[in-house]
């Protein structure tokens, strides 16, 4: 199996799906001749032509709404938002149209789109190139929201998303694009859009995260083992909507302790929902407070290195929370 990066996984998935199904097309800013701001769509316009890889006008609203319409009419659009910081012009299309079309038509009109959105910080992107904003969409029933954290999942979940009959928001973390490699099958495969996955088994504590901080969480768990002999079970959430409660709750029933990790700022991040689900459905299982490792409640990631560092969750911050949890 070839060892590939996260962004190669995305590129390959797009390529394979476009070959498999001629209804699949791509639309977004700079996805064509430039191959995407981060090269996720590199080579696709050369292979599939400008009718299937559309360099759109600078208008996120119509990038998404035209995809919705095209999907209604039988296509499988894969629109792209260059940075989640700029998804706001498409807010209506995503939350009021894509999320509600099936519902408002009692299932007679649907829009299977896969909206790829680049998100996340830690790359000196500053206030407007580092945001997370997953909450806005995880809060909207009718949308599937996924956020793979490994190349294997990046590929398998993107393929599954494109084939799925629901509107899917696919969050790809820019810091993961080239920072990790993994062996990924060249054969066709998909990864479930319904299930969280246990990345590391453990009996002493449950830790849950997604995206880039999932990788940091794994490192912190390794340190907990080597430094304290504590076994942290690490769950990669992967799907932010609808959330796979069972995998989390089964783990908490076993470990009785929970640390939740997110890159997003604290209030109403994804961890809030997970915490609430645990406190409601697995209260008896808890031996300690549910701790959250998050960014502080500030509007976005400031640019200066001192400030960005203060903002971002780190292995140290996660480990400190795990230690507090273990000691409770």
């Amino acid at each position: 199996m070839p060892l590939i990066t996260y962004i190669d996984a995305i590129n390959t998935a797009l390529n394979e799906e476009m070959k498999r199904d001629e209804k699949v097309f791509i639309i977004g800013e700079d996805v064509g001749v430039m191959g995407g701001a981060f090269k996720a769509t590199k080579g696709l316009i050369e292979e599939f032509g400008p009718d299937r890889v559309i360099d759109s006008p600078l208008a996120e609203g119509v990038i998404v709404s035209s995809s919705i319409g095209a999907a209604m009419a039988g296509m499988r659009p894969v629109p792209e938002i260059q940075f989640v910081d700029f998804v706001t012009p498409a807010m209506d299309a995503i939350t009021q149209q894509a999320a509600k079309l099936r519902y408002r038509s009692a299932g007679t009109q649907t829009c299977p789109i896969t909206l790829r959105i680049c998100y996340g910080g830690g790359v000196a992107g500053g206030l407007y190139h580092s945001q997370t904003n997953t909450t806005w969409f995880a809060h909207e029933p009718g949308l599937r929201v996924i956020a793979p954290s490994t190349p294997y999942d990046a590929k398998g979940m993107l393929k599954a998303a494109i084939r799925d009959d629901n509107p899917v928001i696919y969050f790809e973390h820019k810091k993961l694009y080239r920072s990790i490699k993994e062996e990924v099958p060249s054969e066709d495969y998909t990864v479930s859009l319904d299930k969280a996955v246990v990345r590391r088994e453990g009996s002493d504590m449950t830790a849950v995260s997604y995206g880039y901080t999932m990788q940091l969480m794994l490192q912190a768990a390794d340190k907990m083992k080597s430094e304290h002999g504590i076994n942290v079970e690490c769950i990669d959430l992967r799907t932010l909507n609808p959330i796979d409660h069972d995998t989390i709750l089964n783990s908490v029933a076993k470990t009785n302790r929970v640390v939740l990790v997110q890159e997003d700022h604290r209030t109403l991040g994804i961890s809030s929902e997970i915490s609430a689900v645990i406190a409601e459905q697995a209260f008896e299982c808890l031996d300690a407070p549910i701790l959250r490792v998050t960014a502080p409640d500030i509007p976005a990631i400031p640019f200066a290195p001192t400030l960005e560092k203060f903002y971002m969750p780190t292995v140290e911050k996660i480990q400190a929370a795990m230690e507090r949890c273990a000691q409770y």
Binding site: P57, S65, S66, G69, M75, N166, N256
Partner: protein, 361 residues
């Protein structure tokens, strides 16, 4: 781009003959236009009564006064063409052929409605005839319709999309994004602005500084034309040309129909913000007698002809109302259906509780 307008004079409302010579349309078409307008009017006036009688709840947005616009534009669409209606275009369903039982079920929010009672009354779509179920969000249908047109082009079909919006809608950013996009991609779509002078209580003078909204087409490099929206024949000719252009790869057209809604924005709006003289003026320009006179000129109209149309349609309508009133509402738990392609009923109705699986450490 014969209808592309260069200055104000040309964009002004013009009767049919000014658009495309003087040859009258086929008799059957003229009669069909008339009878459809009459049915629309009859249905909406009836729905208004039903609302006043409290026989359905919610609200209704009547297009009474605007029938020439809607019928003239949409009468020739194929089933495989798509209509993207706004809140005020319930009658688009009648024109395109949605069964009346289903339409009135929509008004009554019954299980037998195309949306099983989920959307508000008047927000009626119908998948088999490619009528997009509208959100209330202004311009949303037009944006989605633009995507349908993109698909039609990609699929090399000769189907087209007709998207309705009010003049108020033109102020919204999404409207602009869609029309600009259609221009760039030369999409098979006809944008119809029904300029009825008011967006709820807001005068068109506060919406935009321009007088004839079709001039906006120039900013998108597409043809634009303003037409008297109360002259069904004029509208029909302008729309036919635009539809033909769209079908044959000529790209989008922006049509402004100047017209008027007789009643309030909705059935709960007394519309006190309007000058009664303005209302009277527009009622005197009622598109239906206008069409009757036109037909009469060609000896195509008689009291009897009208009475026949009304009589048979009344029967149909009464039957549909009876059908709807007898139809059930959806069961409460059905609120959980059609969120996704899979069911969430179990998840929502049966929340489990976890207990520790091992002894305390």
């Amino acid at each position: 781009m014969a209808t592309k307008t260069k200055d104000r004079a040309e964009t002004s409302a013009a009767p049919a003959k000014a658009v495309n010579g003087t040859a009258p349309l086929p008799e059957a078409k003229l009669k069909q236009i008339y009878s459809t307008m009459l049915k629309c009017r009859t249905m909406e006036e009836k729905i208004r009564i039903l609302f006043k009688q409290g026989r359905f709840s919610g609200n209704y947005y009547a297009a009474v006064g605007q029938e020439a616009t809607e019928v003239g534009c949409a009468i020739d669409l194929r089933p495989s063409d798509t209509i993207a209606p706004s809140h005020r275009d319930f009658i688009a369903n009648l024109i395109k052929g949605t069964p009346l039982n289903l339409m009135i079920s929509q008004i009554y929010a019954r299980k037998t409605s195309p949306d099983q009672g989920r959307s508000s009354p008047a927000h009626c779509g119908y998948a088999p005839l490619n009528i997009i179920t509208p959100a209330s969000t202004i311009a949303a249908q037009l944006n989605i319709g633009t995507g349908v047109a993109l698909a039609y082009k990609m699929q090399k079909k000769d189907d087209i999309v007709m998207a309705f919006s009010g003049e108020g809608s033109t102020s919204l950013g999404f409207w602009h994004e869609a029309v600009n996009f259609a221009g760039v991609h030369n999409l098979p779509i006809v944008y119809v602005i029904q300029n009825n002078l008011w967006a709820e209580s807001v005068s068109v003078k506060l919406q935009t500084k321009v007088e004839d909204l079709s001039i906006k087409a120039q900013g998108y490099g597409i043809p634009g034309i303003t037409v008297d929206g109360n002259d069904a024949v004029a509208v029909y000719r302008v729309a036919s040309e635009a539809i033909h252009r769209a079908r044959t790869g000529g790209g989008p057209t922006l049509i402004e129909c100047k017209t008027y809604r007789w009643y309030g924005h909705s059935e709960i709006d007394p519309a006190k913000y309007r000058d009664p003289a303005e209302v009277e003026y527009w009622k005197s320009k009622d598109p239906i007698p206008f069409m009757e006179n036109y037909l009469a000129k060609y000896k195509l109209w008689s009291d009897d002809f009208k009475a026949q149309i009304l009589e048979s349609f009344q029967k149909e309508l009464d039957a549909a109302i009876e059908f709807a009133e007898k139809a059930p509402y959806a069961e409460p738990e059905e609120a959980l259906d059609h969120v996704y392609s899979f069911s969430i009923r179990d998840r929502e109705l049966n929340r489990k509780t976890w207990t520790p699986t091992v002894l305390q450490k």
